[in-house]
């Protein structure tokens, strides 16, 4: 069901043209950096935020760096083709911004040892492949708290994209913190099996609303669920981007991905020669995850409670996955006071106790 916009491949065509001049490369030639997006930059969500990060690089380095991007690249063989084109076009640093690009990145990186790759939300690294991610689950804890306080039907809906650790972390974190403030809370989960499909996301939202959900979260990239929620008069949270067009309601707060500082730092490392393969995983504390303005639809005490939680997470005094926590089947996961380590989180593939939805295996 994916499609790609050939309009934007002109960006690649332009860089491919300049490849012909590569032989005459001068020492002062600007560093070429390419970005590959899974959706359109106009999704106003995930890919939009990555492109904001790209623009931050442009703004930070001016003429020293030339950035380009290709949007709507499906997670599959096309990704490998686009990455190869980018490497052939002379890009020295390539950001692949979706989990499903993982194997494509590893394959292409093996063929181009001189090109550095950065893969978002993945876990495979090589000498020329770094990974980076943001601790979205920290933001989910905050909006989970708000959701638990705001629901009247005690049913919270969650539109999942794919059952991968990043998404599972978010569902667990939101549920744990909603339950903490409202023990009667239930969570209904629908897997859309897509990152971006406005019609399907809208249908998923409608299905959850028909199920009695009055607070909706999403881990898909478009604002379609926001529009559906607005019709139904229920609450939502902006995902990846602030989605402030839907404030003060249905959007009552948001999780904002802020990639700019990381992109600027990594491109800077390329320019001064200090780039190394690392695995970056920053959260609220480092500013990689932001909590959008909590709107006037939320009572002041709930707002204060959410902000206090965000501050505690940011300061490192509280971890959203702190025991005692059991797995969905009732078996113990974390003992009282125990904190989940990053290794366990980055492979998280089960729900915590209390979630009734099933985990696709």
């Amino acid at each position: 069901m994916n499609r790609r916009s050939f309009l934007t491949t002109t960006a690649i065509a332009a860089t491919a043209l300049s490849l012909g001049l590569g032989g005459a490369a001068l020492a002062q030639e600007p560093l070429k950096v390419a970005f590959m997006y899974v959706g359109p930059v106009g999704d106003m969500g995930w890919s939009f935020q990555h492109d904001q990060g790209r623009q931050a690089v442009d703004a930070a380095y001016g003429g020293k760096v030339v950035t380009s991007y290709v949007e709507n690249v499906p997670e599959g063989p096309d990704a490998e083709r686009v990455l190869t084109q980018m490497a052939l076009a002379g890009n020295k640093l390539i950001f692949a911004t979706s989990f499903g690009y993982m194997d494509a990145v590893m394959n292409v990186a093996a063929k181009f040892p001189d090109v550095r790759f950065e893969h978002a939300t993945g876990y495979k690294r090589a000498d020329n492949v770094a990974t980076y991610d943001a601790r979205f689950y920290e933001g989910r804890a905050v909006i989970g708290t708000i959701a638990g306080r705001m629901t009247k039907t005690n049913k919270i809906g969650y539109i999942g994209s794919f059952p991968i650790p990043e998404v599972v972390q978010g569902i667990n974190s939101a549920f744990i913190h909603a339950r903490k403030v409202n023990p009667a809370v239930e969570m209904k989960v629908v897997w859309a099996y897509t990152w971006f499909d406005p019609a399907k996301e809208a249908d998923a939202a409608a299905a959850l609303i028909a199920e009695g959900v009055d607070v909706l979260m999403q881990h898909t990239d478009s604002t379609a669920p926001q529009a559906k929620a607005q019709e139904a008069g229920i609450y939502t949270f902006g995902q990846a981007s602030d989605m402030s067009a839907f404030a003060p309601a249905p959007r009552i707060s948001s999780i904002i991905d802020n990639w700019g500082p990381y992109y600027v730092a990594r491109v800077g490392a390329m320019l001064d020669g200090s780039w190394a393969s690392t695995g970056s995983w920053e959260g609220i504390g480092a500013g990689a995850v932001g909590i959008g303005e909590i709107s006037s639809a939320v009572p002041a005490e709930v707002k204060a409670e959410a902000e206090a939680l965000a501050a505690a997470i940011g300061a490192g005094t509280y971890h959203p996955f702190t025991g005692p926590l059991n797995k969905q089947d009732g078996s113990p996961w974390l003992a009282a006071g125990e904190v989940a380590d990053d290794g366990a989180l980055s492979g998280l593939n089960f729900f915590v106790e209390g979630i009734t939805a099933q985990m696709p295996q």
């Binding site: 994916n2 050939f6 309009l7 989960v189 019609a199 604002t223």
Partner: protein
């Protein structure tokens, strides 16, 4: 939530489900019905996706700028028709290859709509009202399922009937089919092959555009770049699997929309059915059902209009 007391089955409100099904199926039904007419006239237009997305942005822009959803739907239909006429000019007048031109039309539509749509991201369209059918809407069960929709849903169903009558009972329908089956014979009889095909294309484009506008004005409702995400291709597939018969196209569109909505509802209700199975169910069930129906009637394989996709030039 406000859907009224419905019939419950296994925790799922069937009445609400049926109502959602009709909304989810309408864009595909409109586009597929339009494509059916074009293909019956012997033109294979693979640009349905491109015409739909142009209808989505054209309709959205029209509705936002004038504040009237009705104007929006007309603008969506016109946008789709203009795209189809561009295709018609290239394939019927300049005799370009229909497959290549259709694919190009899709890519062109996706790009152009993204460009036009830049200023419409995050904008809310005026709400499309439901038709007030008075007492009918208050009927138990049938009321919420059948009589509380917007006019486009009824229009699409009426269209299926009209297209069936047109193809089977009208003289112009016979001419259209003749052009699609054997354009040289139709030409020899004095029918204007190119004119008939341009008309069929424009009709098909208008319906694809209307389907796109329904997506951006009712089903989602907002403009997002690339928002059709393959609906046009589904419409094309339904025409083929429905062996070019409008009643089967209706069945295919409702089956596809229905299973799509049902699988999401089953997930929301927490049924222990593997999600991967649910997720592929709309495609599998629709294809299997339509193939079985076509196979049962034997002529399924030969149902394609004989001149489909072939270039016509009056010199032969």
């Amino acid at each position: 939530m406000g859907m009224g007391a419905g019939m419950m089955l296994g925790g799922i409100d069937l009445v609400a489900l049926a109502a959602m099904l009709m909304v989810a199926s309408t864009p595909i039904l409109l586009a597929a019905t339009g494509e059916l007419i074009a293909e019956k006239a012997g033109v294979l237009n693979l640009g349905v996706e491109g015409m739909m997305i142009m209808g989505a942005i054209g309709g959205f822009a029209g509705a936002v700028l004038t504040g009237s959803p009705a104007v929006g739907f007309v603008a969506g239909a016109i946008s789709g028709a203009l795209m189809a006429l561009l295709f018609g000019f290239l394939t019927q007048v300049l005799l370009s290859n229909q497959v290549a031109t259709g694919l190009a039309l899709t890519l062109f539509g996706l790009g152009l709509s993204a460009l036009i749509g830049k200023g419409f991201e995050g904008v809310r369209p005026p709400a499309t009202g439901k038709l007030d059918l008075g007492a009918l809407g208050d009927l138990p069960v049938l009321g919420p399922i059948l009589f509380r929709h917007d006019w486009v849903v009824y229009f699409s169903l009426g269209l299926v009937v009209a297209v069936w009558l047109f193809l089977h009972l009208s003289r112009s329908g016979l001419i259209l089919r003749a052009v699609g089956e054997n354009h040289e014979a139709a030409h020899a009889l004095g029918y204007r092959v190119v004119a008939v095909r341009m008309g069929a294309l424009a009709f098909g484009g208008a319906l694809a555009g209307l389907g796109g506008a329904y997506l951006s004005l009712v089903r989602v409702p907002q403009w997002t770049e690339g928002m059709t995400t393959g609906a046009g291709w589904i419409a094309l597939a339904i025409v083929v699997f429905g062996s070019w018969r409008v009643e089967r196209v209706l069945l295919g569109a409702y089956l596809f929309g229905g299973v799509t909505v049902l699988q999401l509802r089953l997930q929301a209700a927490g049924y222990a059915i593997p999600v991967q199975l649910l997720s592929m169910a709309p495609y599998v069930i629709t294809i299997v059902a339509l193939v079985i129906i076509s196979a049962r009637h034997r002529h399924g394989a030969q149902a394609a209009p004989a001149a489909l996709g072939r270039i016509f030039h009056a010199s032969r």
